[in-house]
């Protein structure tokens, strides 16, 4: 891949930046944790597969801005006839911007970078693992529970990888807890 080195460096620097922010103490800032099942769609012109993953995120929020570290791991593989596709791991860093910060229902614009590993098996063919790295973008919405304001229900749609002949998307519905 022509930009693999740069992308890995970018992910590494993003993680460092995230940890730096996470360990600092700034007024009107908070840390939160989120967990959700996510359906990953490996989408090609000639068919799609949709394995499931567990989506775990640790994030730091300053008013309208959030920085998220996401780690996803396989829950369930998916089959297209004899093709089995599984997602052993996804690592992402997302920046989220909430333009309507004061609203109860918050909408987030998401931009980040991801590395996705895809396992595939097919009869009479050697098993393979393909790795995809690229820019990710998407949208998310979240709303706090009235009785527990720290707990929020969130829905994200993110295009993790956009390629020439293949796209990988994630759709997750889960909970977020703000410490």
């Amino acid at each position: 891949m022509k930009c693999k080195y740069n992308m890995k460096l970018f992910l590494y620097l993003s993680n460092l930046l995230f940890l730096t922010i996470f360990s600092s103490s700034i007024a009107n800032a908070g840390v939160f944790f989120a967990i959700a099942p996510a359906m990953i769609t490996v989408d090609t012109e000639n068919g799609s597969t949709r394995p499931l993953v567990a989506d775990i995120r640790l994030a730091y929020e300053i008013e309208k801005h959030q920085l998220e570290l996401a780690v996803m791991s396989s829950i369930n593989e998916d089959k297209l006839n004899q093709l089995t596709v599984d997602i052993p791991s996804i690592t992402s860093v997302f920046y989220r911007y909430s333009p309507y910060y004061e609203d109860r229902l918050k909408i987030h614009v998401i931009l980040g970078a991801s590395q996705i590993d895809v396992d595939s098996t097919y009869p009479n063919t050697a098993d393979s693992t393909d790795s995809f790295e690229g820019i990710s973008f998407g949208v998310g919405v979240e709303e706090a529970f009235i009785s527990i304001p720290e707990l929020k229900l969130k829905l994200d749609w993110i295009q993790l990888y956009r390629g020439d002949k293949l796209n990988i998307n994630a759709l997750s519905l889960g909970l977020r807890y703000e410490f």
């Binding site: 891949m1 068919g47 300053i62 297209l80 690229g134 002949k165 293949l166």
Partner: protein, 473 residues
């Protein structure tokens, strides 16, 4: 840390990656697996019975690829997502559909076909050997019944510059030039039992009646420069046709189909097929569309009949409304005489067809009624003003009388004024005697008696229109 300052740099960096990154090599593997998986294909091969590995220079050939499904083990032809390629330095070419054009010089090349992650290759020899003559009618012996079609692969003798002989299927540069001669075996006259036609480099025998025929192939020998006629190829045409029937062209269940549509509107077209039921060698029945090789007839001019362009169905067009016509179809020897040109184009006569003596012939008929064109809507004007069905229209100025003009719009989008048609019924629903009075012997004309609302209902061949008129000063 100030996010507002950092944000533009992060966005710019991300955008740069967005436009620059693509794991194309990794994509290929996953995309190819999805291509194969989508059709559940686990192996591919070239069809053994229809793949040529020796082709003449400058000839053309359409290669195909087949795949085996993993679940059913069924072998299917792959028409999408096949990538064709030739070995490097090949002068011959192949396009994305597998259409191969041989080079002008002899060469040996490797042809590869890729479907998803599966790749299959064969060696192709482009030969400079030239055609001499046809030596076999088909690559293998075949049996055929009357009113059937059978693709054939004539085998030719080719000779190269060293005098070496090649026996192989006649290629595309020759197959279209062959003149096929078909005679009756018993009297040696030109036969109307069968015809051989060539389309898209594929020769096919079409049979019309039973008996034994003798076939010869005449073609220009590129070896001698003379027109060479092949030896006689004797071919029996069987009579294992058990029954013949007519069905709607849309029927797919040929075992149980019948002609359900026996009524046809004038100027409309009805498509029908003839279905033959044959006795297979294993005792089972085979139902097949034999429209192409049937003999069709019609008993009058109330309708016209013609085979479709692909000759897979007969189109009946109604000419005269409220009449009927009888379509007849036969397979085998009929009483009526047939011109040889009808054999090549499909036999459609302007009279009924009947079997000669019910030996080696089956026939059936079906009456079709031709009805009037359906009326799709009515258009009405009152004193030259357009009316809308059921909506009130005000006629001011105290008119002395109201003149309705009724136009019927038919299902074929033609229209006709029907104001005085005997099938048009007028009835005053409201205002009779107080607002309007129907004039005697003048259809659609009413005398105005006073102010108020008049409602007139118009009925014409199943279509109705309510003219609602508000008459004022």
């Amino acid at each position: 840390m100030n996010f507002k300052k950092v944000l533009p740099f992060m966005l710019a960096a991300l955008f740069a990656f967005l436009t620059a990154c693509s794991d194309k090599e990794n994509e290929d593997n996953l995309v190819n697996l999805h291509i194969a998986a989508q059709q559940d294909i686990i192996s591919i091969s070239f069809p053994a019975d229809s793949t040529e590995t020796v082709l003449s220079i400058n000839s053309e050939f359409d290669f195909s690829l087949q795949g085996q499904k993993s679940q059913t083990q069924e072998v299917v032809t792959l028409s999408k997502n096949v990538q064709w390629s030739l070995s490097e330095n090949a002068s011959s070419t192949i396009d994305k559909n597998g259409h191969f054009i041989a080079s002008a010089n002899a060469e040996i090349i490797t042809l590869s076909a890729q479907f998803g992650h599966l790749v299959e290759s064969i060696e192709i020899r482009v030969s400079s050997a030239v055609f001499d003559r046809v030596i076999e009618l088909n690559s293998e012996v075949f049996s055929i019944d009357m009113c059937q079609s059978q693709n054939i692969k004539p085998i030719g003798r080719y000779v190269d510059e060293d005098g070496n002989e090649e026996i192989r299927p006649v290629d595309s540069t020759i197959i279209n030039t062959i003149e096929w001669l078909v005679r009756n075996q018993e009297d040696n006259i030109e036969s109307q039992r069968a015809h051989i036609e060539t389309s898209n480099n594929q020769a096919a025998v079409r049979t019309l009646s039973a008996g034994t025929i003798v076939i010869q192939a005449k073609a220009l020998s590129k070896l001698t420069g003379n027109v060479e006629t092949s030896i006689d190829f004797e071919q029996a045409i069987g009579n294992d046709l058990n029954s013949i029937k007519l069905c709607d062209s849309s029927d797919t269940d040929l075992l149980n189909c019948k002609l359900d549509t026996t009524e046809l509107e004038k100027d409309k077209t009805l498509s029908i097929i003839s279905v033959g039921t044959y006795q297979a060698t294993d005792g089972s029945s085979l139902n097949t569309n034999i429209s192409n090789n049937s003999k069709w007839g019609i008993d009058n001019t109330n309708a016209t009949i013609a085979l479709s362009a692909d000759r897979q169905q007969l189109n009946v067009t109604g000419n005269s409304e409220n009449t009927s016509t009888t379509i007849s179809v036969a397979c085998g020897d009929i009483v009526q005489s047939i011109a040889n040109k009808d054999i090549t184009k499909g036999v459609v006569l302007d009279s009924s067809v009947t079997c000669d003596n019910n030996i080696d012939c089956l026939a059936t008929t079906e009456e079709i009624k031709i009805s009037s064109l359906a009326v799709s809507s009515l258009k009405v004007t009152a004193n030259a003003n357009d009316l809308t069905d059921g909506q009130s229209f005000t006629l001011s100025g105290n008119p002395a009388e109201i003149t309705l003009v009724v136009t019927a719009v038919f299902s074929n989008n033609t229209s006709q004024v029907v104001t005085e048609d005997s099938n048009l019924a007028y009835s005053i629903l409201q205002g009779s005697g107080t607002v309007i009075e129907e004039q005697v012997d003048v259809d659609g004309v009413y005398t105005v008696e006073g102010f108020g609302t008049a409602e007139i209902k118009l009925d014409f061949r199943g279509e109705s229109f309510i003219a609602l008129l508000n008459i004022t000063l």
